[in-house]
């Protein structure tokens, strides 16, 4: 599957990555190359093979329903460009 310039532009926008218009055809070509490389895997017959989710036989780890975290408003907000009264302050988003 080949990625055209329009698709590259859309994917960049959805991922919130600024790609200048002049770079788009290069990006499209690189993405197409990656996909083409991955497509070689389609040559392998995986009928009746379960998808592998882990290289070792592991079970999903569970946590107990206990409060063990939180109460760290200062740390949570520490990297925010702007805060007000304990909130993150962001450019207005209104529906």
């Amino acid at each position: 599957m080949a990625i055209d310039v329009d698709t590259a532009r859309k994917v960049a926008k959805l991922a919130r990555i600024a790609v200048p218009e002049s770079e788009l055809s290069k990006v499209a070509k690189e993405l197409s190359g990656i996909l083409k490389f991955m497509e070689r895997l389609n040559e392998v017959d995986v009928t009746n093979v379960q998808p592998m989710t882990s290289v070792t036989p592991m079970e999903l780890k569970l946590r107990r329903d206990e409060i063990t975290d939180g109460n760290q408003q200062v740390s949570v907000l520490a990297n925010a460009p702007d805060t007000k009264e304990g909130f993150f302050a962001v450019p207005k988003v209104v529906e």
Binding site: I67, G70, E95
Partner: protein
């Protein structure tokens, strides 16, 4: 599964300018899982805390933080699934739904698109008396809630609170089986009732713990039946989704308004475009959501941070065998065991607390009398008292039981019982002590009643003549005796004496 002794309602027809139309509605209900900690972190789920104080670094989307699932949220989802007679999937897995929004710091929501924890089920939705219908459930999946944005605190800035970020939600998706605004709200109420019975969601809509996305389309009469036989959606109209509704009243309004809008477009030759809309109760309209227009490409993929969830059948069986009696079963049992009407049984099983209260009152007592006192007197009184709920009742079940005992043993009359109820309700205290102290005991002494009746007969010769001519008028004497004894005379005895002296 359920023996339907109810009639299924006919779909509501909406008359447009040119044609008749019918509604088709499917609901996605988001129910907050009742748990102490969040779905993938150890931060508290408590509502109303200081902003950004119930936040772990996992919730804030800090680099390198890994989610670890809360086992209680899993069992709550399974319990809910069992309560909705649904298939429990022993294998389920988590996926990432990618989009950007200020209240979603991870940049994706962890959800279950491909392998939800609960599959198909069904619920019986009661409508008006004697009518009910089955609404099929498509699936329930577990997912993270987003944070909360506040837009009205500053003209140029939105404020973001991540306390709700990462709290576990169950998204309960129905099939398009709902055919009117009333059915939609009755369906949500039924889900709420079942989850409150199970203790899996508190159902508080005001706090946003239960919200719904409403999918609405319209079709011409006959089209829905074609869909039903073929399960082919192309027989139905294009749907629009109204997002994030947390009030039953607004849901009802929004459905009616959106249906009118779609009918207007179709009748003037237009087409409906599938889109996400918002309901504005102030303007009484629905309008498209701008932000969601291009965001529909969520690029779902399996979450690489989480292994699939494998449940053991005996673990599920254990939850299943310990499940409490569900509302439908309880309603049926109340109707049968207590010989109540289906309606009364429905009222008494509306929530778990009410049903417990009633059963405590009715134990060892006259069932119909107990039901009447709980439904008519107690509920009526609580409603007048600024809509108090049964848990706030100033009268305990044992106090009410004692009042009923005093009636059945003929120690007080039904009328006095109402006065006594009011005294116990407002002042508290032991009903039998109040009866003794305030001389409310019923007069069952024949001589005393006869004496009172004789005086009235002596003083009202005209009434006596009338009563002898027309026995129906003898009732006047009963009323007078009751009055002169302050309502305390045993009405049965008074009646007998009046009959004896004036009629026969």
């Amino acid at each position: 599964m359920l023996d339907l002794t109810y009639d299924t309602p006919k779909p509501t027809t909406i008359s447009g300018a040119k044609y008749d139309w019918e509604l088709v509605i499917g609901l996605e209900v988001h129910a907050q899982v009742a748990s102490k900690a969040k779905l993938f972190s150890g931060a508290s789920t408590l509502f109303g805390a200081e902003p950004n104080s119930n936040v772990a670094f996992v919730d804030a989307g800090m680099p390198g933080m890994l989610p670890v699932i809360n086992e209680e949220c899993i069992s709550q989802a399974v319990k809910t699934g069992l309560g909705l007679n649904a298939q429990i999937n022993l294998y389920s897995a988590f996926d990432r739904k990618n989009y950007f929004y200020p209240d979603l710091p991870q940049g994706y929501q962890i959800s279950q698109l491909y392998h939800p924890i609960v599959g198909e089920g069904e619920v019986l939705v009661y409508l008006e008396p004697g009518k009910a219908k089955v609404v099929r459930i498509e699936r329930i999946h577990l997912e993270q809630d987003a944070g909360k944005s506040i837009h009205d605190m500053d003209p140029n800035t939105s404020f973001v609170d991540l306390n709700r970020t990462g709290v576990a939600l169950m998204e309960i998706v129905s099939k398009p089986d709902i055919r009117s605004a009333e059915e939609a709200t009755a369906y949500i109420s039924k889900l709420r009732q079942i989850m409150r019975y199970l203790g899996t969601c508190d159902g508080n809509m005001q706090n946003g713990n239960l919200r719904a996305d409403v999918n609405i389309s319209v079709c011409r009469p006959g089209d829905y039946e074609k869909y039903q036989t073929s399960q082919d959606f192309s027989n139905l109209g294009t749907r629009c989704e109204i997002k994030n509704m947390n009030s039953l009243k607004f849901i009802q309004q929004a459905i009616d308004i959106e249906a009118r809008r779609q009918i207007g477009i179709l009748e003037s030759g237009g087409t409906i475009s599938q889109e996400t809309r918002l309901y504005d109760p102030d303007k009484g309209e629905t309008r498209p959501m701008r932000s969601k227009e291009e965001a529909h490409d969520y690029r779902y993929f399996p979450c690489p941070d989480l292994l699939p969830l494998n449940l053991k059948q005996d673990w599920v069986d254990n939850i299943s065998s310990n499940l409490i009696e569900l509302p439908d079963q309880k309603r049926l049992r109340f109707a049968t065991d207590y010989m109540l009407s289906d309606y009364d049984a429905g009222v008494l099983t509306a929530d778990l607390e009410t049903s417990k209260y009633f059963e405590a009152v009715a134990k060892g007592r006259d069932q119909k009398l107990s039901a009447n006192w709980v439904i008519n007197e107690l509920f009526g009184r609580l409603k007048r008292d600024t809509d108090k709920s049964i848990t706030d009742s100033p009268i305990t079940h044992s106090q009410l039981g004692e009042i009923i005992d005093l009636i059945t043993s003929s120690e007080i009359s039904g009328k006095i019982a109402k006065d006594l109820f009011e005294i116990v309700y407002t002042e508290g205290g032991s009903p039998s002590e109040i009866v003794d102290k305030r001389g409310m005991r019923q007069v069952s002494n024949t001589a005393e009643i006869e004496n009172a009746l004789d005086i009235i007969i002596r003083e009202n010769p005209n009434q006596v003549t009338k009563a002898r001519e027309n026995p129906k008028l003898a009732g006047w004497f009963v009323g007078q005796v009751m009055k002169s004894t302050g309502g305390k005379a045993n009405p049965k005895l008074v009646n007998e004496l009046v009959q004896k002296k004036l009629v026969s």
